[in-house]
């Protein structure tokens, strides 16, 4: 494998000149550029990126932390992030924390060890206390997640989860539902708690009280949706509607309802979150809250790259909130 010195020797110039040609420094004599290019071509020279990284103290790589990538929302989010990063000349390293705090910290260590230039957290399990220690090593951006701590001071690109919970509840309450189950992905996820706040706000506006026993944790995939159906059926006082927090959970739940002859929405109304393609596939079509997934992904990547390039100051970015809306289909 050839190095910059081999090229310099063959072209009869200095290594510095070769480096300048590689990096498209404009003030290089056309003659030299030509000779260098020719030599590079002849030798099949390819610059060694590790060496370059060491020297410039950058990797042009950013990490994104998600729980698991096969989740429909996250796979789409990460797909768009990857394409966007690529476009801007960066690599995206996808890190699956599986909601394990320890793993999440290990991925944050990528910043310390200089393996990535910045991190986008599309999922957080650790406390703000823990996370903030990493900020000294590079920029961290929250993507659709948040800290409940008042003093958490970190830029975030997200939707208004509180409002999402609010419009979901409002929609169901307007339809006359009074007992509504509320699902949270993961165990007390923060965005889930935000949504719950909005949910409760709607109940308050309707002068109704929410039965806390109807909160269901760890609802994150099709399989958990199936289980939740049976759990709800087993209740003495069954709810007449359920907010699932994700389309995947909704779809699992509806599928099981269909199998058991429970009519949706007559016997149980279902509202999802995200608006994935499966929301249109299931029968009946799923009413849901649409998230602008691609916009969230693009904005996150653009933002962190701007910060890395110094085009934007980390402390100036506060919170960017993207719009959501209710998509009415047949499940409510």
């Amino acid at each position: 494998l050839k190095t910059i010195s081999d090229v310099a020797k063959l072209a009869g110039v200095s290594r510095a000149s070769v480096s300048r040609v590689i990096n498209n420094v404009p003030t290089v004599n056309a003659e030299i550029r030509k000779k260098v290019l020719k030599a590079m071509d002849e030798l099949g020279f390819i610059p060694n990126v590790s060496a370059r990284n060491l020297r410039i103290k950058q990797t042009r790589t950013i990490a994104v932390i998600v729980p698991l990538i096969s989740n429909l929302f996250f796979s789409r989010l990460v797909q768009t992030m990857g394409i966007e990063a690529e476009k801007l000349g960066y690599k995206l390293l996808i890190c699956q924390s599986r909601n394990i705090e320890k793993d999440e910290l290990n991925f944050l260590d990528l910043l310390k060890t200089r393996q990535v230039d910045g991190i986008v957290m599309a999922s957080v399990r650790n406390s703000w206390e823990k996370i903030k220690n990493y900020l000294q090593y590079g920029p961290i951006l929250m993507c659709n997640e948040c800290f409940l701590d008042e003093d958490a001071n970190i830029p975030s690109i997200k939707i208004d989860h509180e409002y999402g919970g609010y419009i979901a509840a409002q929609h169901l309450l307007k339809l006359g539902h009074k007992r509504i189950a509320f699902c949270i992905s993961g165990d007390d996820s923060r965005s889930g708690l935000e949504r719950k706040k909005g949910f409760l706000r709607a109940f308050k506006e309707f002068n109704l009280s929410f039965d806390e026993s109807l909160v269901i944790n760890n609802a994150f995939d099709i399989e958990s949706g199936r289980e939740i159906f049976y759990r709800l059926q087993a209740l003495e006082e069954r709810p007449t509607a359920v907010f699932t927090g994700s389309d995947e959970v909704a779809v699992g739940l509806i599928s099981e309802a269909n199998k058991n002859g429970v009519k949706i929405p007559e016997e149980l109304a279902v509202i999802g979150f995200d608006d994935n393609p499966i929301a249109k596939i299931i029968q009946p079509g799923l009413t849901t809250i649409r998230q602008p997934t691609d916009d969230i992904a693009k904005a996150s990547i653009e933002c962190i790259i701007q910060i890395l390039k110094g085009e934007r100051d980390f402390n100036d970015v506060k919170s960017i909130v993207l719009p959501i809306k209710l998509i009415k289909r047949e499940s409510t």
Copy 2:
């Protein structure tokens, strides 16, 4: 940010000793180890991985090339690969080629530029001629894909696509279908062509001829499944069954059939491929060919890492074929 020299100075030992402690070299005096550890801790020392990579000429990173990650099959594949790589101490860089030849080559360049140690190709668009030039820079493994060229000599972990096409066709032919549409993901994908071979073999066994006008290209997601439904409906001589090549396509197609009152399987039988969770969600349940996605992913990662560690010789690995099977549900 502290370096190994800072630690050495504080601990009163040489940089080499610090390095040995970092790398858990066993032959280090306990006393020295303790002093070094203490110094590292005091200084908050974190080794710089770029420097290490440069020195050892490795990155402990492998790349996997897929078309797009939000596809249900690939997101699951890559999820498992990521977890497996992590377990074995490697990072997985996910590269989305979007089926663009140029992009695929750009990702292969990661090998040349020493940014990754090896590559797993879960998708190939370029010719064997092009790909083989990259083998001199590091190991490349095919994952569920293949080259049609006779002389292509490269290890691959995959299912028997030919057999998959065969059992799908056989199942439908046994049910009495004679006109069956055949979908291929992408445009002449290689695994798709393999499947078609098996498809034709079954026709031959039944002494039937296959109508080439029933081949449909570029079938890869839910949306294309929808379109295919209408395309099939528009035909003069409609097929009575369709092999979609993926569950996503099948589900899009069935969804549209339901909407239009076309009875599945009475008016149109549908068979998918993969056996994703959505196969059980759609109504009627989707008959499909189950791929051992997780096994494929694990075997691929294990294999390439063994090669990288020198525990296995690149040229000894031939082809590893994993079993598939027909899952009968209600759509056929």
